[in-house]
Point group: C2
Chain length 331, copies 2
């Protein structure tokens, strides 16, 4: 059996291979294949632009992250950034740096994972670039969304007295990654799939933006502690988290014990959950009921309060400790 | 003397370091520092999006390409793509994958080169991403421009009988690169600086778009032969080039001889010139006089004709040969 590598195929043929899979909506005046894409902006909307990279050996390990997962994750982390702004995804550009030995089937599967997730959120891949990498596989996605001016979520709107919430449950992805790294469990487990196939909280972000009250929001890529720190810094406030309220599943508690870790610690310092952390004025908390009803069962959990003092603390019953540092890939 | 690396500095501090250098115009509603940038689109204009990567060991060699050059080139190749669409540059996003050992001063110089070129063309850096690379230094720039619907240049508008033109002179960058690779000459030489500091033909692209006649255009990143091939394929036509008309400077002829190469061959198959190749209806060639007068001395040279037969040929006096293949990094 001979396998074909991306180098056998060549740069132009790879680009043509991607282009053949894409269908363009009418607002794309010129799609992939020219020097650049030309698109009509949405009237009356602001545009939201973000770019995020996935680098082999830093963000994923090809021994246990499949090509489809790699493609899914590269798109998901960008859609998660759009979600944190309350934006509706619209388009993406993809820049790939490929090891020459990458199999063509793996290349196709990366696209499969990326395009499948994109399609679920109405994302059109309008352009991109393919080049060779003498080192790791790298994927850079630029995602573009739209948001109406009064519906933008930022990091900088938290005020003392606001209530702090989080979507879904935390720590699962970190537990899943730990199991995958140890080679102990297969990828079909729930926590493993939380790591391999993060679900961007796009609908939640859009709904939070529709509340007509100031909402501060950040997505949790590097753990709850990091998200709290970033939101608090941007808003010039402090946060007091209630350790007992942080949403960790029973399955995570069991997982954490098996890993010799504390479930709360995984939630605070483990990355890759891609849930939304947000603050709402106390007076507007009631409006979350309507939002919750439209979130298809996604949990919203109150986990703390914004404080005037800029301290970042975790309360656990009677004791209070400083918020730990989050995870930083560079360190 | 101790030097500080980007890893010593850390991801967040690097991002803050970039952010501190930037000033945002009023159309940037939310700039760098949040989950994504939020911008107002330009009323009545279409948007032009492109992304292009520069990978160490593929697109540049740090032994003779300085950090400023790297930054300049990463921005230039994207502005050149905008130029080929007739677009006016507006904004950019930057995704960096950095070896941990990269010196902080080099990081700053990469930004220097990129921001200096961007500023000359009115580009605002509105967002980006910084991550670690376990391999080569990689820079991915996404550039955004605007164009009015009737002023778009595409690759697909050439028709039999159109005249083929090129801006500036060709082959210099390839000669410069060859000298730099051989360690034979310094970076201050004209052909070396053509390679190290390509000048995107933004003004030329905008002027060509204003001619009110169908113009096909592509930028020359991988040699004239490759550009001709791409434009012809997109338009479904052939091209007959006149070898004696291809603009090569006397300096290049001397350079080529010293390198044991043919000047025309460098022009046809050498990359990195970033001139614009374009076609104009024969009836509209006269309008180029007005355009030429506004191009600050940039040459426009007629180098061939578009043919109905889809052959791609180079005529040289009485002889005719097939157009050579262009340069492809992947092969």
């Amino acid at each position: 059996v001979t396998t074909t590598s991306v180098a056998d195929c060549g740069e132009r043929a790879l680009i043509a291979r991607v282009r053949d899979r894409l269908a363009m909506p009418s607002w794309v005046v010129i799609g992939p294949g020219d020097d650049a894409a030309v698109v009509e902006p949405v009237r009356g909307a602001l545009e939201v632009w973000t770019t995020d990279a996935q680098v082999e050996g830093v963000h994923f390990d090809r021994r246990f992250v499949s090509p489809e997962d790699i493609g899914h994750r590269a798109m998901a982390v960008n859609l998660s950034d759009l979600a944190a702004m309350g934006a509706r995804p619209r388009a993406a550009l993809l820049s790939l740096a490929l090891p020459a030995t990458l199999e063509l089937t793996a290349f196709d599967q990366i696209l499969d994972g990326m395009l499948a997730l994109g399609a679920r959120f109405g994302v059109t891949l309008v352009g991109g670039n393919v080049t060779f990498s003498p080192g790791p596989l790298m994927l850079d996605v630029t995602a573009v969304g739209t948001v109406h001016p009064r519906r933008i979520l930022t990091r900088a709107r938290a005020r003392a007295g606001d209530q702090v919430f989080v979507t879904g449950s935390l720590g699962d992805a970190a537990a899943g990654l730990a199991h995958l790294q140890a080679g102990r469990r297969d990828r079909a487990q729930p926590s493993e799939s939380r790591y391999l196939r993060p679900e961007p909280r796009v609908r939640a972000g859009i709904l939070l933006g529709s509340m007509r009250t100031p909402v501060s929001c950040v997505d949790l890529s590097d753990g709850l502690a990091d998200g709290v720190r970033q939101l608090a810094e941007a808003s010039g406030v402090g946060v007091s988290l209630d350790a007992t309220a942080v949403p960790v599943t029973d399955a995570l508690r069991t997982d954490a014990a098996a890993l010799g870790r504390d479930a709360l610690d995984l939630a605070l310092t483990g990355g890759d959950d891609y849930e939304l952390l947000f603050t709402v004025r106390s007076s507007a908390v009631g409006r979350l009921r309507g939002v919750r009803g439209q979130m298809d069962g996604l949990a919203l959990t109150r986990i703390g309060v914004v404080t005037k003092s800029r301290d970042l603390v975790v309360r656990d019953g009677a004791s209070t400790r400083e918020l730990p540092q989050g995870f930083e890939h560079f360190r």
